[in-house]
């Protein structure tokens, strides 16, 4: 079986599932989820076949698997579309379908399959205890989402990648706003509809700039010199042709762009990076991600762990040769790398400070995702290509695990709320507590995931990947290193806070008391992911500690690049820092929250920070800032400038003016006619004419003989005149 054919087939089952569910199996819940799960399992199987075949290949990286078809003839060149499998793709193919499958299976339990439909549940609102009314729709959208991600992963050119990107943008809108009819009493709380629009529009801002970059890159492949360099590949956007051609990259790095001081490669790199800033929720376009928690938890897992945000980082990793064009190890960073380093490091710190104060279990994870993506982007910014890819993979595992675990917790608390008839926010951690005993599987898997996130030394995957990033940062850029270390400490702290508040101590509410473990469709994916959260790190152990693991990952992935990057020399210093950060943060969190677990009604101990706490809890007021800078002016433009001023006053006013003028002219005519022609019977124009008519109509008797008589008289008169003239009596 040819591998490239398999590559073409990988994205197909989910989209087929989407159509089948939408068109045919909509009414049957069991059939819909079966179609969806079978389809993602097929994709997973195909991906694994490809993966296990390529990791054995020699020189994989220089040689790749792929095929393409000519898609759009454009003058001299032909734009080709196709699929590609290089080492980076193989890594993505390993974890993306795996996480997606787990999420699909989990959704079966999460949406309460098996329970009867509760008549109190309204369509469009989250179900309380019955099965989700829009069950099939959920699986259809999830399948479409998986299709978008898989397309992005196997794409061999930038345009097809962007297509997958946009499909995921659409699905994020559909899925975040899944419970479209949900409304909150508190006007400050964003509804799912609002969150969906916010997500779509914020990522749109990034996407527009990214499209600009793509167009600019395409344009640059069609210039004279580019045609000379690229030959047949001019006018395409295939990764292999464009990014692996060192001469072309040099050409781009030397051409000055429209912005002074930036080369074309730098400008395009920055534009493409801005797309990632939107999609991977980096500062300043991070605002959509926490509000995207309004979607069902499997959606959050999918978007924020497995798929969408990973797509952003994947795009940068994929375009890395372009962004680092002109960079040599140890040399000055190119502008895109500077941007990535700065924004990534800042975001990592910024988001982790906010996560420390959040009450909602999913919001902590949301900010944690933003922070971890900041880690990855910062790693790319300083040239740690392999480390970023490694962290992407491990992050997908443990973050998906954490999200699904939080969903399991929420579900458990909701069960408890149903049993004890309490009305509370099931997502608020301060309503939980003591779930360790009630939900053991969830507890242990969540603990594993949390420790992986915090970077618990040696046994968790997160440790190895985070350590590699820190090692690279230590070797290359000390500022980024210290920012990331602080951020890692905070990560460990808020992770422990989350675990302690949720699981330790005594239940703080009746709902938490009556919480119970969930069905196997929800717990087995957790266990499966936990295995990977523990063991997937061992493929990336540094060479010097070879007793503990393997170093295949680094060698495998770095073959993706033309210029092999050197892994920094191993020093013990960054490892010590990362161990201290992780353990220190965890301990601190335990001291504050775990030693004496909070009782019901007790306030968060961190509130002693006072105004700082409020600032962090309100997310540095960024939402309010954006509302002020963008939201209000936009609304003002729409309702005042365009509607009232332009439309009603100017355009309608002009039309009314013309109408009034026409009316005025008509009135002038009317008055003129009245006074000259029509009205007064004695001296108007009409009256004499009427008189003349009345007077002279008597000659119309209707009798032929009268007419003939008159005719004869006239003939006589004329004849007489002529006769007299003829005989000379009249001249």
């Amino acid at each position: 079986m040819q591998l490239d054919l398999l590559l073409w087939l990988i994205p197909v089952p989910p989209v087929a599932a989407f159509f089948i569910i939408w068109l045919f199996t909509n009414r049957s819940r069991g059939l819909s989820h079966a179609v969806a799960i079978v389809s993602i399992l097929i994709s997973w199987a195909l991906s694994l076949i490809v993966f296990f075949n390529v990791i054995g290949l020699k020189d994989f990286g220089k040689t790749v698997i792929g095929s393409s078809v000519p898609w759009l003839p454009t003058g001299e060149s032909v734009f080709r579309m196709g699929v590609l499998a290089d080492p980076l793709t193989a890594v993505m193919l390993f974890f993306v379908p795996l996480c997606c499958t787990m999420i699909f299976v989990y959704s079966v339990g999460y949406q309460n399959y098996g329970k009867p439909r509760d008549p109190h549940d309204k369509v469009g609102e989250p179900p309380h205890n019955g099965v989700e009314p829009m069950y099939s729709r959920f699986f259809a959208f999830l399948s479409l989402f998986a299709f978008g991600m898989l397309t992005l992963v196997v794409a061999d050119n930038l345009l097809l990648m962007f297509v997958g990107w946009e499909i995921m943008g659409l699905c994020s809108y559909l899925l975040i706003g899944f419970w479209y009819a949900r409304n909150y009493d508190d006007p400050k709380k964003i509804t799912p509809r609002g969150a969906a629009v916010k997500a779509f529009i914020t990522t749109r801002v990034g996407d527009v700039v990214m499209l600009l970059g793509i167009a600019y890159l395409y344009f640059m492949t069609t210039t004279e010199e580019a045609r000379h360099i690229l030959g047949k590949a001019a006018g395409t956007l295939s990764f292999r042709d464009i990014l692996y051609n060192a001469k072309f990259l040099e050409y781009l790095a030397e051409q000055p762009s429209v912005i002074v001081g930036l080369s074309v490669a730098a400008l395009i790199g920055i534009f493409l990076f801005i797309g990632t800033v939107g999609k991977s929720a980096q500062f300043p376009l991070h605002v959509w991600l926490p509000d995207a928690m309004e979607g069902p938890t499997p959606v959050s897992a999918m978007i924020h762990a497995a798929a969408m945000v990973s797509a952003g980082v994947y795009a940068v990793i994929r375009m890395y040769p372009l962004m680092s064009a002109g960079w040599h190890e140890g040399g000055p960073l190119t502008p895109p790398m500077l941007a990535m380093g700065a924004i990534g490091a800042f975001t990592a710190l910024f988001a982790s400070t906010i996560a420390v104060t959040q009450r909602d279990v999913k919001k902590v994870l949301a900010y944690s995702t933003i922070s971890q993506l900041g880690f990855m982007v910062a790693a790319l910014g300083i040239g740690a290509y392999v480390a970023a890819a490694f962290h992407l993979m491990t992050h997908a595992f443990f973050k998906a695990l954490l999200f699904l675990g939080s969903g399991s917790v929420i579900h458990g608390v909701e069960h408890g709320a149903h049993h004890s008839n309490e009305h509370l926010d099931p997502q608020d951690m301060f309503n939980m507590g003591g779930l360790r005993k009630k939900m053991p599987i969830t507890f242990w898997t969540f603990l594993i995931g949390g420790f992986a996130l915090a970077g618990f030394p040696f046994i968790t995957a997160g440790f190895w990947s985070k350590d590699e990033i820190l090692a690279d940062a230590f070797a290359n850029n000390q500022i980024v290193f210290y920012v990331l270390v602080i951020s890692a400490t905070l990560t460990a702290f808020y992770t422990m806070r989350q675990i302690a508040l949720t699981f330790f101590g005594e239940p703080r509410t009746h709902s938490a008391e009556h919480a119970s473990e969930n069905v196997w469709t929800m717990t087995y994916p957790l266990i499966f992911l936990a295995i990977f959260a523990l063991f997937s790190g061992f493929v990336g152990v540094p060479k010097e500690l070879a007793e503990l693991g393997f170093n295949n990952f680094g060698k495998f992935v770095s073959a993706t690049l033309v210029e092999k990057l050197n892994t920094p020399e191993f020093t013990i210093v960054p490892m010590i820092f990362s161990i201290v950060a992780a353990l220190g943060g965890l301990t601190l969190g335990w001291l504050v929250y775990g030693m004496k677990p909070l009782k019901a009604g007790q306030k968060d101990p961190l509130t002693v920070l006072g105004p700082i706490y409020t600032l962090l809890e309100n997310k540095y007021y960024f939402d309010e800032l954006y509302e002020f800078i963008f939201g209000r002016p936009a609304r003002w433009i729409a309702s005042v400038l365009v509607y009232q001023i332009m439309d009603r006053t100017i355009i309608d006013g002009a039309l009314t003016l013309i109408a009034r003028f026409a009316y005025f002219v008509g009135h002038v005519f009317k008055v003129t006619e009245k006074y000259t022609i029509n009205d007064p019977p004695d001296w108007g124009l009409a009256a004499p004419i009427q008189w003349m008519g009345r007077t002279f109509r008597v000659i119309q008797t209707g009798r032929v003989q009268n007419y003939l008589l008159v005719a004869m008289l006239v003939v006589l008169a004329f004849g007489g005149v002529y006769y007299l003239r003829f005989i000379g009596l009249l001249r």
Binding site: Q700, G702, Q705, L708
Partner: protein
Amino acid sequence: MIPLSWYLTLAAALFCIGLYGVLARRNAVAILMGVELMLNAVIINLVAFWRYNQPTVIGGQVFAIIVFAVAAAEAAVGLALIISIYRRRSSVVAEDMNLMKW
């Protein structure tokens, strides 16, 4: 030979009598008879002019015959019209046909 002017005077006299009949009779059929008389006067005029000016050209006689034929045809049409009017209004008095009056 009798002078031409006597024939022309005869034709003129007949024409005027016919004209008087057309203008002054009440009955529509009588008006038609007046029209016939006018036509006949015209024919006498024609024949007189033919005989006295160009007797060898046969065209004059032909012209007179044509006029006769036209007169006959026109009389037929006129009578048909009168019959039609009579069927509608049961009267042939010309004065009463005044639908075109103001």
